[in-house]
Symmetry: D3
Subunit: 135 residues, 6 copies
């Protein structure tokens, strides 16, 4: 259960700002499906608009990193932040962008290894080598 | 300052197990440089051997994900886990593997956006859409 | 499902120490409702007593920060710690203390922005400016 | 040491986009001081512009939450995310906005208490009471 | 719901590598029960094999720390990482190894206290005393 | 550098509440050394008194868990919370209570393994087995 109301399609259609964002999501994604994340943000139209703009700018607009790589990074961050919702939604997004089982296994391996070495480095308080410095 | 001793080259050379790992790191990486992470793990030869084996298996052996993508995922995990040492060492590793400033900017953007949406999803306790389910 | 038993009212009434805390919670909050957090802590009467005393001292006794501000800080901490239970209970508490939708939106905005800039600062390992130093 | 170059005033002045943001920061804050966070973001002008816009929108524009309350929430998030830089910069910002020693003590108390109860709730996996549900 | 398929006994029996690990788990644990963690890892036989080997080496092989102490440390890490699954499975494992209610209460107390003092130290950015240094 | 003043012995001696706590720390620990954590908390006498009382109750008073086991749990929590100060102070405390290099290695191994399996379980969103339920 959420801590806020999840907006139905009818409620969204009745609010011009929310309707505009939901329509844009549907157009950009070429799908009628609006997932719960946006239905929850609809309670705060400013936040809804800014978040969707950020997603379009960062995740959808073309860049040097390909769309699948972006999703792998997103899953890694969401896993360490223990965001159940985000792990689910971005694993589904990665699959839709072609994630193979082998790639998923490699992603899990890297997340697991980094988690271990992060803990070891923090437990040992290892000083940064000057060779890693900039300038 | 570390919570354990950082082994010098002379100390490493005098312990056969540590020497074997240090030599293998130098051979695999084609570099004489041994960073502090391994000098700290040298206090526990079992852990040193297992960690280096994992790094070779996961990060160095060829797979479907290319070496630079692996480093981006590693940096993302290390950033969220607040591991200063690991952020430094893997950002340097990514640069050595060709990370461009544009790619670094895109990585920062994704880490930043995911951090925000993770927080929003956790603050709103958004229920997972059944569409994201497996099977 | 919890990892410990949740005490019923009948079980709590039969243990003098647990009964005393539950009664005090009801008196202080002017409500018969005892939420699951306290029913779980009842397994450890020492911990139950100390935790309730801390809550009374820190969250209920008057101070310079008003009760709603205290709840906003509590929600922020609970969100970043990914404590689903605590986000739920303290968002409900904030609403009971007058949280408006606009304030909730501003809280979400700050939590989201801070999450992003925290990630950026950690990914970039930005050195602290001497101007921020004390003394 | 940072993982990226920190831009000097001379370097910033030579790049029109960076110069524009630095000038706006100085104007809005009525101070010549540009802290390292912005000098690091200058490597990525897009990210620099978007981050400064977010800070102005969320932290500086008037809202229902007063400026000091916003800083307290920011400190709370930054503390739990272990962002040393952000804790320093936002504690200094809170002091500049009038934070008293008593308020600082109350903030510390709430962060500490929430951290404990978050851990307890997560260790006990306490189920959310239906009373905390929306709708 | 998981982000991957959970393997049934029939599916596991049909894959030699998965079958071998499941059989070894049953033999080592002297129990027919295979918990969902292993059924999820079965999608990646390499990861399954390596993870089970690590568990046997670290948690099951005799060492200086006794089996119950190892579980207490595991619960502490899992609690702070907000891993609901791991808190459940390792609290059950600790009970099977003799965890008493008093010991559980002491564990909760230490996790709670450490969470508070961690937050305080991070909020105050307390410098490490030279007395805690090695060498 | 801290975000608050670290109290000198002279300053502490001039404040009766701070002096009383510092004296009690010295008596209980049978040592003149007051580490920076307490010198920072001295700015908030209430918090100082309550924190020291908690430490005495939880870490120093005898219980079912022995003093070294308590420190191992404390180090595990502090490592995952990325509290540099706390990792340093409690690793030193564990050594003072007899921590051997072998035990330290086992602790590191468990923290590392748990970090990995926590990440895997969170990335795979593995549902809790009903067998782990209470009651």
């Amino acid at each position: 259960m959420a801590t806020v109301k999840l907006w139905t399609d009818a409620e969204a259609a009745a609010d011009p700002r929310v309707a505009a964002v939901f329509n844009d999501i549907r157009t950009v994604r070429k799908s009628d499906f609006i997932n719960n994340f946006w239905r929850a943000l609809a309670n705060q139209p400013d936040l809804l608009e800014r978040t969707w703009t950020s997603v379009k700018t960062i995740m959808i607009a073309p860049g040097e990193l390909d769309p699948l790589t972006k999703e792998l990074i997103y899953i890694a961050v969401s896993t360490i932040n223990s965001c159940s919702y985000c792990v689910h939604s971005h694993t589904a997004a990665a699959r839709a962008k072609g994630l193979t089982d082998t790639q998923h296994g490699e992603l899990l391996d890297i997340i697991g290894l980094a988690s271990t070495t992060n803990s070891l480095a923090n437990a040992l308080q290892i000083p940064v080598d000057p060779e890693f410095s900039i300038g």
